[in-house]
Symmetry: C2
Subunit: 319 residues, 2 copies
DNA sequence: TGCTGTCGATACCGCACAGGTATCACAGGC
DNA sequence: GCCTGTGATACCTGTGCGGTATCGACAGCA
C-alpha cells in the first residue's frame, strides 16, 4: 500500500528529468502508455500528485520536486548495494580506483606498482573517468576508492586521506602571447578577452555563467585550447594536456589543490584502509623523493617553440 | 538483468537477520516457499551466493554480509523518498520533530509555543520516541528534525544546531545511601556493587558488557531504578524520571551533554532552517532567562524524604 | 534401524500486473 | 478545416508472485 519499487522510482525519475512522457519512455526502453499508467499508479498509491499535466506540457508539483531530490540518493544506494555484493562475491577481490584520466599520473603509477608488488595489497583496477564523475561512481558502488581534488570535487559523504598539495598551472595555446610568460597571476589569466576560461559543469549539472565554452570532457577542452579558443587551470601534476599546441605556465597565486584518496564514509573494508595508508605513505615519500611531484610540474615550453603568431581562434567550436 | 527490487531486498534482509527461512517468511507475512524462490532468484540474478544453506541452518556468505550492510541505508533512503514526497504533497505542511520522551521538556515546550504563535513558522508535530530512535526516524523520513544529544547520539549524516549544554545527574533509588549525597562524582556512581549502571543498546543494537541490566525503554529503566536494582545518568533537564522513588543527584564531573537540533544533511527545506534558528534563539534566551535550563535541574530530594532504609532489590528483574 | 520432526526445495495453480499495439481526446499551427 | 504532437484509454498477452501440497535430507531418539 505504501512502498515504491525501484523500477517505479526510475520511471518517475526519467519523467521528472525529461518532463515529457514520450521521451522518458524512449529513454527507459518501454512504450509510452505503460509509463503513463505507471506514473498514475504511483501517484494514486502515494496519494499525491507528482506532475501537473497541462495541455502544453508536464511540470513537477512540489511533492514531485521533493521526490526527485530524494530519488537520486535512494537509487544510488540501491545500485551500490547490489554492485558491492556482486563484487564481494566475485572470486577476484580486486579494488576499483576511479580517477580523472591524466590526473596524478606519477602517484597513480607508484600506487599501482606497489599494489602489484605487495602481496597483502589487493590488485588495483583503475577506472578512468571524466571530471566530477568520481563521486557518482563511489556512490553507486562502481568504484571503491577515488582520487579526487580538494576543494573542487564533491567530497560530501566521503572519507578522505590527504595525499599531496600542488599548485596550479594555466594551460594556454602555445601561440598566444600569454604562453611567453614564465609565470602568471590569477588576475592575468582571468578575463582575458580573447581567451575565456572554460566552464565545467557544477555538481548539479548546470554551468556557471561566463564567456567561456561549456565543456565536460577532457579531450574536449584539450582540443579547444589547441584551437586557441580558451584556457584553463589544472593541477601541475596532471598529464592530460601535453599537446604540442599547449603550454603550461605556473599561476603563482592560484589556490593550491590537494589530491585526496576518497571512499564512501560507510565503507568498512580493510582493503580500503590499507590502500589509503599505502597511498599516503607513497605520496609523502614521493613529495620529497628524487622524482618529486613538485618536479613533475611541466616546464613551460620556451616561447621559441611558437611556430606562428597569435591569431584568435573561432569564438565557438561546438560540434 | 542486474537490479534488485525493494521487495526483494526486504526479503533478503529478513532472511539475513533471522537466518531462518520459515521465521523470515512469517515476519514478512508470506509463505516460506515463495521466499525461498525469491532468494534463489536474487542469487542467480546477481550471480553470487548470498547464503550458505547447510543442513544445520542458514549462514551468510561474504557477499551476503556486504549486501546486508548495504541494505539498511538503501531501504531507508527508499522509504524516506516516499515519506517525504507524501508529506510534501499533503495540504497541511507541518514539520515532524522527534525527541526522546521527557528530554529537554522546557525547551520543547517553548519551541511549540513559538511555532503556534508565529505564523511564519510551520506547525510542529512532536513524535516521542525511545532512546536512540531519532536517527532512524530522520533517516527514513518519518521525522524532519530531532532533538538529540552530543556526544551520545548517532549524528552521522546529519547537520545539527547546538542548543544548550547541561550537566548530568544520577538518578538513584531514593532508599539507597547514595541518595543522601548533595552531589556525586563519576567514580562514586560507577562500579557501585549493589547498584550497577543500566546498559543501553549501542547504535548497532548490541549491548556493552557490564553487570547492569539491559534496557531499551525509558519506563523500563525508570521501573528498575524505583525497584532499586540500578542507577543511570541523564541530562539534568530530562523529565522522564521523577517518580517518588527516584532521587536526582548532580554528578559534578560527568561529561556535559549538548542538546542539538538535528536534521538530514540533505535537507534543503527552508522550514527546517527556520526552526533551527528559532530553537537556537530560544535556547540562548532560555539559558540566561528567569526560567533558565540551569535552574530546571531537579533539586536533589532531601534525604529526609527517605521512608525506609536501603535494602538491595532483586538482582535481575527481567520480564 | 526405523520413526518423527524440522526445514528448505520443488511442483503446480491462479491471479495481478507489466508491457505491447491500436486508438482516442484535445490543443496549436499552417 | 486538417495535421501534428502529446498524454490517456482500451484491450491483449505473458511473466511472475504468492499460495497450497508435497518432497527430500538430515537430526534426534528409542
Amino acid at each position: 500500500m505504501d512502498e515504491l519499487e525501484v523500477r517505479e522510482l526510475r520511471y518517475f525519475s526519467a519523467v521528472a528529468e525529461e518532463l515529457h512522457f514520450g521521451r522518458a519512455a524512449e529513454r527507459l526502453g518501454i512504450a509510452q502508455p505503460p509509463l503513463s499508467r505507471a506514473i498514475r499508479r504511483i501517484e494514486s498509491r502515494l496519494g499525491v500528485q507528482l506532475f501537473e499535466r497541462d495541455r502544453r506540457g508536464v511540470a513537477l508539483t512540489e511533492a514531485g520536486r521533493v521526490l526527485q531530490r530524494e530519488a537520486g540518493p535512494a537509487l544510488d544506494a540501491m545500485t551500490a548495494a547490489v554492485r558491492r555484493a556482486r563484487r564481494a562475491g566475485a572470486s577476484e577481490r580486486s579494488l576499483v580506483l576511479a580517477t580523472k584520466a591524466g590526473a596524478s599520473h606519477q602517484l597513480l603509477q607508484r600506487l599501482l606498482e606497489e599494489c602489484a608488488a605487495q602481496s597483502d595489497l589487493p590488485p588495483l583496477e583503475v577506472l578512468l573517468c571524466e571530471v566530477g564523475e568520481q563521486a557518482g561512481l563511489l556512490r553507486t558502488g562502481a568504484a571503491d576508492v577515488a582520487l579526487m581534488h580538494r576543494p573542487v570535487d564533491d567530497l560530501d559523504g566521503f572519507d578522505a586521506e590527504e595525499l599531496l598539495t600542488e599548485n596550479q598551472v594555466a594551460i594556454v595555446p602555445a601561440a598566444h602571447p600569454l604562453a611567453r610568460s614564465v609565470e602568471l597571476t590569477l588576475a592575468e589569466v582571468t578575463d582575458v578577452p580573447d581567451l575565456p576560461m572554460a566552464r565545467w559543469p557544477r555538481l548539479d549539472g548546470t554551468y556557471p555563467e561566463g564567456p567561456g565554452p561549456e565543456v565536460h570532457t577532457q579531450t574536449d577542452i584539450a582540443q579547444r585550447v589547441a584551437l586557441g579558443t580558451c584556457l584553463l587551470l589544472i593541477p601541475a601534476s596532471s598529464r592530460a594536456w601535453q599537446w604540442p599546441e599547449h603550454v603550461a605556465v605556473p599561476v603563482v597565486d592560484a589556490p593550491p589543490l590537494t589530491t585526496v584518496l576518497a571512499w564512501p564514509a560507510t565503507s568498512t573494508s580493510p582493503q580500503v584502509a590499507r590502500i589509503a595508508r599505502t597511498a599516503a605513505r607513497l605520496a609523502a615519500s614521493t613529495e620529497q623523493g628524487p622524482i618529486g611531484m613538485s618536479r613533475e610540474t611541466p616546464e613551460p615550453k620556451t616561447p621559441g617553440l611558437q611556430l606562428s603568431p597569435w591569431t584568435p581562434g573561432p569564438k565557438r567550436a561546438r560540434s
